[in-house]
Amino acid sequence: MHENLIDVRDLKKYYPVTGGVFRRRIADVKAVDGVDLAMRKGECLGLVGESGCGKTTLGKTILRLQTATAGRIYFGQDGGKVEEVEAMLHSADAQARARAGAMLKGMDLNRMSGRNLLALRQRIQIVFQDPTNSLDPRMLVKHIVAEPLTAQRLVKTRDVDARVRELLGIVGLTADHLMRYPHEFSGGQRQRIAIARALATNPQFILMDEPTSALDVSVQAQILNLLKRLQEEFRLTYLFVTHHLLVVKYISNRIAVMYLGRIAEMGPTAEIFARPLHPYTKALLSAIPVPDPETKREKIILTGDVPNPINPPAGCRFHPRCAHVREICRTVEPQLESVDGGERKVACHRWREL
């Protein structure tokens, strides 16, 4: 527990919906609605879910590209201290809660600003889904990769060039590519450039926001292998957001399944694939088309669409689509509970019986 690089507690991100004559806030899109997530150093946590489930928002909020509506994000904090603050926050003593609030200013990524935040930016980075959009079309590769270094003046100007060349080498590009614009590259190469940029500041943590879903199958394999290699080489921690389950299976140690702003189930990859507990996970896994015509599996076809996150269903958010729904599911929201006292967690009232 004390090895956690990132510890997310009760994170919420709401987007206001305005309406009426005066454009008042009339509702919220509850993109992320109470998520607890811990990531250990050096692991790759796969965050899967369908579009609109809030996985990308969760990632971007953890990176503080957006400010969370509520919740705490501890990055690289001592585990004991985190528990202490959390305990104080939840204590009945108002004074203790106030003290905890003061302590959070220096610990909670969501409350940091200015210099503290900037210093943290070196240690956390992001790779986006579509490299066509995430690289400034009017900048040369040289400047794109150097941006994290020059923006924070981390490296002396005369050393920047050498560092950029080194980074390009790491991701499998050459110095020939320095003086080119992004549009002169293929999709896979652009993603390599984006990865080189993410590596520039020697980060500890990289958010992978669907890094291969805009790429072709054969190129996807190149990038996945590269990411895997880099993770081992630099002892990186990944949060790998994707909707592609086989990709997640290939690259992640652990998986968290999200549904409508909440985590439905999480645990080690192999265990989840071998024995999914949540009905949603089961349906999701059974729906993956497996590239093997010999195996014919029974599919669980869910009915209906993902509900609107403005008005999530009461009780268990999955209940309108769930085949095993009981009365309790309609009224009481299940909490994420540990299955075996360890990492395996599930938020379902009926996981024991099913």
Partner: protein, 309 residues
Amino acid sequence: METRTDQRQLRPMHPRLREMLFTAKRFLRNPLSVIGLSLIVIFGVIAILAPVLEPPTNRDPYKIPHNGYRIEPSPPSAAHPLGTTQQQYDMLYGLVWGARSAFKIGVLVVAANLLIGIILGALAGYFGGIVDEVIMRIADIFYAIPFLVMAMALVVAIGRGLKAVIIVLIILEWPSYTRVIRSDILVTRGKDFILAARASGASHLRIIFSHILPNAMYSVLILASLNIGTTILTAAALSFLGLGSETGTADWGQIVSLCRNWIVGTPGNRFAYWYTVFIPGFVISLFVLGWNLLGDAVRDVFDPRMRRR
């Protein structure tokens, strides 16, 4: 085969230069843009060489020389290659120096508007919120009054003359620039590379100047080149109505207003005074056409859909 340029094996050339060459090549492939560019270049040369082409005789070169006050225009002759207007102002002199006035008006107005538009548009677009609301509502008010009508009222209030026309056009045209820049900035601001820059720890100023503006500049440049044409048209219209420059100033709209009474010829020759009506308006049209063609070409060249993938 890895990239396109590999195939062409270009000499090592600075990529920015390479891009410019590529753009220029596309530009020159379209005959209309070449026509537009040549028109502007020709007018530019005329404006620059005005003192050589038509040496000024007055102390103020923008005063058109005239001999006598005879009311009828006179047809082209050796002394007056393009004839004279009403009150014997020399047409050629007026047109040549008028080119200078036209450039002065166009460039001054558009440059000032670019500056105002970029500053206000960037403020509104990047920071949003209350700043955005205030700037855009003010722009709405300016939009709510027909342009030429408002320009007339303002010229009356400020006092006539070319200077007043320039000031008025600056006051009235900034909202369209601000709008265009703002909406482009809004689009750019939502792109992933802006988020990436923020994740890299780039400051607001750095993001605005090195990411947002370079990407959001193009449509405003298109607008600017198209707007030089309309600016000239409005200035000419004001002069024509008698609200612009004084009589006898080398200003195209002003020269056209001198010809207003000569559309009906003499009983024997119904087109007797055609030159005095036709020539100055034709020159204005060519000038505006040049800018419009140029603007269209700029739009085509920079249209993201027309660019490479």
